[in-house]
Symmetry: C2
Subunit: 196 residues, 2 copies
């Protein structure tokens, strides 16, 4: 997967490993992450496969750099991947895994967990993110229709966060209700034993 992401980025213009890293950090981070170590490794592999080629560029005042370009074989592979309708299924959501077993904790702790999660999931509209995204937009402005697809992924992020917050609210309500039922039962028991 990362290979194809890199291929897509280089397909829109030659890049160094460092530049690829910054794009992942600033623009693709809401649906993918990548460490520099992995990027450099994948680039070496991709060069061996013949999908990209490398040019050493000497610089003064800055470290030398290795600029990567897409090859015809790489572009072919990019299109093949884009057209491949096979959807990799493995959905993984670590938070849901926790939720599934959260019955081991006291309800109050679970509620606090959901509140924290809800508050943490605020779609980042902050300056840095937006300006980085704008940079990428400018990068592809020679083909303005490409920016639409970037907008679509951003919209997914917004809708996802919104849904997640709504789900958290629903969970908190359910758990609050359960807590009330439980404390009610306990009071009932207490009352009974008081009565006896």
């Amino acid at each position: 997967m990362l290979k194809h992401g890199i291929l897509g980025l280089i397909g829109n213009g030659d890049k160094t490993g460092y530049e690829i890293m910054t794009v992942f950090r600033d623009s693709l981070n809401h649906f993918w992450t990548a460490q520099t170590s992995q990027i450099y490794r994948e680039l070496q592999i991709m060069e061996q496969t013949g999908w990209v080629s490398q040019t050493h560029v000497a610089q003064t005042g800055k470290p030398d750099k290795n600029v990567f370009s897409i090859t015809p074989a790489g572009r072919e592979e990019l299109l093949r991947w884009l057209r491949d309708s096979h959807l990799p299924a493995g959905v993984k959501n670590p938070f849901l895994m926790k939720v599934f077993f959260m019955g081991e904790l006291p309800v109050e702790e679970s509620i606090a967990f959901f509140q924290a999660f809800r508050d943490a999931s605020v779609f980042p509209d902050d300056g840095k993110r937006v300006s980085a995204a704008a940079d990428l937009y400018r990068q592809t402005v020679d083909h303005p229709e490409k920016a639409v697809y970037w907008k679509l992924t951003i919209e997914f992020g917004r809708m996802y966060e919104k849904m997640q917050r709504a789900w958290c609210e629903y969970c908190i309500q359910e758990l609050e209700e359960m807590r009330r039922r439980k404390s009610g039962t306990e009071e009932g028991i207490k009352h009974e034993s008081d009565f006896a």
Copy 2:
């Protein structure tokens, strides 16, 4: 992560590797997947770590089995993990990765892609799934409040699918609009050249 999922399952009662596999396949599959090969491997590691213990049970008419139980150290680790508020960040969405670079394809192809994706994301309410989930419910019915958490993860799945379909509709609309604009422009150009 899988280690903690397994820990949680065994925490609700001793299980064989095979039983763990079936629970992943039938009940946790909307937020996690696991191959038997990985489950058996993790179980061996977890036994070495001291989180689970293993008992060989001879059977007649069926293959012998190895039943795993959670140890006190394992239960401690389960609670530590549940309380750990550190959220593993790495969001990975292969479909969005594709969308991001979909500008390389003709709009018509992209639209077809979204239609297929929308139609594929139907929350599975089928008999097998529901009965498997009900089994799990019965399993935990001795502590009925635990079933609430299971319900919460199911609800997440439903909301997610719904959001995804809505997003697909939005994407299709945007792309249809773009296609109309493009064909309009082309017609304009054609008309001009006809006129000239």
